[in-house]
Symmetry: C2
Subunit: 196 residues, 2 copies
């Protein structure tokens, strides 16, 4: 097994640990235990723990992107329906993997505090915003509408809402309240769609 293979295996194991027990529990020993490797392998495959966490963040962002794009089901023709379905699909994703979603936030904030990783969050959110913009643009052609405000700005608002909904749900696990918030957000966003 090459050093490069070990590195990606360790990153995956680290994500599993962070998902299950949080960032503060992702010690080198916990990670190698999850990957079923001896401790010595760690610093042979990766220079430092922070370096590995950088890989983990990129792993999370990639996964998040897949989930977001997968939620785009073209069943709805009504823009209102499309918005609600997409937001609900995201909420379902959060409820299915709460640890993963929390890990995302923990990693972002850990990175912000670490001098060697504090450039990551900006990149991470740029990726999210670009992703949301992509989905919104796809929705334009797909639904035969156009957004009456710049897609980039709307994308940021959408990410704002998904982040906020996720945070509140993680805190109180109130499914019904989260769904009502999504309904309300849908009603608030729908007016930005005009028929092309």
């Amino acid at each position: 097994m090459s050093a490069a293979e070990r590195r990606v295996a360790l990153a995956r194991a680290a994500l599993t640990v962070v998902d299950r027990d949080g960032v503060h529990a992702a010690t080198t020993r916990a990670i190698v235990a999850e990957a079923q490797m001896p401790l010595g392998s760690f610093h042979y495959a990766v220079p430092s723990r922070d370096e590995l966490l950088r890989d983990v963040v990129e792993l999370v962002v990639a996964d998040e992107g897949d989930a977001a794009l997968a939620g785009l089901l073209g069943e709805a023709v009504d823009p209102r329906d499309a918005i609600r379905r997409t937001l609900t699909a995201y909420l379902d994703h959060v409820r299915a993997q709460p640890g993963r979603e929390q890990a995302m936030f923990e990693l972002t904030q850990y990175a912000l505090r670490s001098p060697e990783l504090d450039d990551l969050p900006a990149e991470q959110y740029a990726r999210y915003h670009a992703l949301a913009a992509e989905v919104l643009t796809a929705a334009e052609t797909h639904l035969g509408i156009r957004w009456t405000v710049p897609v980039a700005e709307l994308a940021r608002l959408v990410v704002t809402i998904t982040d906020g909904v996720t945070l509140a749900w993680l805190a109180d696990r109130d499914d019904a309240a989260a769904e009502r918030t999504i309904d309300l957000a849908t009603a608030a966003l729908a007016p930005f769609a005009a028929s092309a």
Copy 2:
């Protein structure tokens, strides 16, 4: 100095440390150093570190409440203006004390991972939602309007938006983008206000 006084002093010192260096840096030694106490005083004043963090969370929530209510300036008569002013006031608060705001998120997520504190976040967010509802209701009488959707639901959406805006700004520190998001959110929320 009584044990109770020591405890609140330690909570304040802990918040200072979390604000400056993050939750993971808030060790017992760092906290007593900030409070200028000997290490032995710590476990005389408070049973455990987690117990103190519980105090810190309540401290943060209280501070947050003061900030939210302080932002409610009755200059605007237009509901649209009132919404934008309030959201902008919150953003200003975040920009003035970014560490404090990040500490809030870090504490919430730390609490979620800790078996002895995992009841805190629900309470914390219930307080936020109640606070937002309070502000919204005050706005009704103050502006002579009424909200066309239940205040409790609108309150949750408002907290969702402030949380989301804060997270994104902490990540990329893009002032202009955050303000555009607030403008857009204002446009999205304004239609929920009807003249009473």
